[in-house]
């Protein structure tokens, strides 16, 4: 695997914020923690105020960006942190969306919370099922032979696309499942485009927080160890298969949550949402934003969703061509992603100011 310079940066960031966590509390713990998280807090406040100062189509766009940010971050658990080249992550995204839609349209389960819980359960079950054959072809330290796992997960995604096309009565076939309404929270609030934004913001922020804690936990560092040197991890006593398998399920579950939000967002799920093109999009999001930085995929989602929107306005029907071109450019010219660059810029700014 290529070295990940930003990981050192990130490592320091994590250690700093971790060392001022309540667990290692010391003097000025709360103040120092505030300082480390200030950028995130500022952004969060801006996000809360956003709908008041932008037109509704921008708000809608940002909603989509948040959904794809979660999608990207969930995939990056496996790719950036654990080094697992999962080429079927869209399968969980799309499956989550379909599960959500089918539960409402065919199952009558319109309560948002119950629906979300079931989506998580079903997506996790899918991951548990597919993970067994998938990791059969992983080997130890897949940097040596990632091809098979990559191909197999890709095949699983495409397989699910064919299943969705075939199971017409359930999924609406190739035209897709339509008529997914905005969520019903079971509270005296009706969700519309405006309030949906805040619901997505809430869910995505909570999920990003949970995943952040996960990748910085004991479990998360084991994943990182597997990325760097799986053979050594085994020699040190770690059951690496178990970590890979459980992380695959967890990442899939978070991807499914993003998928469910996506279903509500667009009101429609098509088979392609589970397939190769969507997996390629999430890879683009992660690679462009920097796989080495936790928040990289967030940046990547903003850029990719933004460009997709622009292309739909100016050159409709040419998005796949544009996407393909961007992918080629990013991989050939900025393979480490722009997130790392931005992070470096930021730190220089901060250091410059305090110097």
């Amino acid at each position: 695997m290529a070295t990940r310079p930003a990981d050192v940066l990130f490592g320091r960031l994590a250690r700093r914020s971790a060392s001022v966590s309540p667990a290692a509390a010391g003097k000025g713990g709360a103040a120092a923690m505030l300082k480390a998280w200030l950028p995130a807090i500022v952004i969060l406040v801006l996000m809360l105020l956003l709908p008041t100062f932008v037109p509704s189509y921008i708000q809608s766009l940002v909603t989509k960006m948040m959904i794809f940010a979660l999608f990207g971050v969930s995939m990056n658990i496996l790719w950036g942190f654990e080094g697992i080249p999962t080429f079927g992550h869209a399968a969980y995204f799309g499956f989550g969306g379909y599960a959500c839609g089918i539960l409402i349209v065919h199952g009558g389960i319109s309560n948002f919370w119950l629906n979300l819980l079931l989506v998580i359960v079903f997506t996790a079950l899918l991951g548990a099922g597919l993970g067994i054959p998938a990791f059969r072809v992983y080997g130890v330290g897949a940097s040596d032979n990632p091809i098979y796992f990559l191909l197999v997960t890709l095949a699983f995604g495409e397989l699910l696309v064919r299943v969705a096309i075939a199971a017409r009565s359930l999924t609406g076939g190739s035209t897709g499942l339509a008529g997914i309404p905005y969520p019903d929270l079971g509270l005296p609030i009706t969700i519309n485009s405006f309030s949906f934004y805040f619901l997505v913001l809430l869910i995505v922020v909570v999920c990003l927080f949970l995943v952040y804690r996960l990748v910085n936990s004991h479990y998360g560092y084991a994943l990182r160890g597997i990325h760097d040197n799986e053979r050594r991890m085994q020699a040190l006593g770690y059951n690496t298969w178990l970590y890979k398998y459980t992380s695959y399920i967890i990442a899939g579950a978070f991807g499914g949550i993003a998928g469910a939000l996506f279903a509500y967002f667009g009101g429609v799920m098509v088979p392609g949402n589970m397939g190769m093109a969507m997996t390629d999009i999430v890879f683009l999001i992660v690679i462009m934003g920097s796989a080495a930085w936790y928040f990289g995929p967030v940046i990547g989602a903003v850029v990719v969703v933004g460009v997709e929107y622009l292309s739909s306005v100016y050159v409709p029907d040419r998005w796949p061509l544009i996407m393909g071109t961007i992918i080629v450019v990013v991989i050939m010219v900025i393979p480490q992603g722009i997130g790392v660059m931005l992070l470096g810029l930021w730190r220089r700014l901060v250091r410059g100011r305090s110097a």
Binding site: R4, R15, A18, R213, S217, H218, N229, A235, N239
Partner: protein, 254 residues
């Protein structure tokens, strides 16, 4: 009393070639056993069989009386085996401290914890400090391992193998690539390990071999060629032949 490690008729074949050929020996608790042999004799392959990285074609491995022949690698570490690698095998993109933390966590409870910050684990950090101070690398704890000198990396290599608190420590060429001073340092560190740890070592450097060994086994073409105390081995004609590369030795194995 049963030996800590018992190897019975262990073999592994690649195609038609026996890389390890009907090897049997035992390691007693507290013993220092050194494996020597020319390049390609199968020493590292034997280690791989013992640790579970490679599956044998035949034979058995018993550890603490239990048959571990088919146990996965991580399970053997959990039982009290640990190894170091001939080619340094660390976590190059992480800091020295993180390497130590990861190394220590492997056999300890809490390695599946998904909530608390790993680097904030005070108890683990204290143990890491102890470990790194033992190898004089606590001052460099925030440096990335990839940026360290080779000799320092080899010290971490050995440090990681001790991190799991093993009963059997298997060292594969611990002084590989080290300067004479560094080698002497490693030799001292191995000698300083208490009797609670049993040492099985592969080595080429004769100062290291005779500095540590209580018993020596010579491996040649994957089979045990000679076995005995350091004095016996020093006097052994087969050993001399193999290491002097005499004509007799190269035909003897065929």
């Amino acid at each position: 009393m049963a030996a800590l490690l018992e190897v019975q008729n262990l073999s592994v074949h690649f195609g038609g070639l026996a890389a390890v050929d009907d090897v049997s020996f035992a390691v007693e608790e507290g013993e220092r056993l050194v494996l020597i042999g020319p390049n390609g004799a199968g020493k590292t392959t034997l280690f791989n069989l013992l640790t579970g990285q490679l599956k044998p074609s035949g034979g058995k491995v018993l550890f603490k009386g239990r048959d571990i022949t088919h146990k996965p690698v991580y399970a053997r570490t959990q039982l009290g085996m640990a190894r170091s690698f001939q080619i340094t095998s660390l976590f190059p993109n992480e800091s020295v401290l993180t390497n130590a933390l990861i190394g220590l966590q492997g056999v300890r409870a809490g390695r599946y914890r998904v909530w608390g910050a790993f680097t904030g684990d005070k108890a683990l950090r204290q143990e890491a400090q102890k470990l790194l101070e033992t190898i004089d690398l606590w001052d460099k704890r925030d440096e990335t391992v990839a940026s360290l000198a080779y000799g320092e990396q080899r010290k971490i290599e050995m440090g990681l193998s001790l991190a799991s608190g093993p009963d059997l420590l298997m060292l594969d060429e611990p002084s590989c690539g080290l300067t004479p001073t560094e080698s002497a340092d490693i030799t001292e560190r191995i000698r300083a390990l208490g009797r609670k740890i049993t040492v099985l070592m592969i080595a080429h450097d004769m100062d290291l071999v005779f500095g540590v060994a209580e018993r020596i086994i010579l491996l040649h073409f994957g089979a045990v060629s000679a076995e005995g105390t350091p004095d016996e081995i020093r006097a052994n004609q087969t050993v001399k032949d193999i290491y002097m590369g005499s004509h007799k030795a190269s035909t003897a194995g065929q």
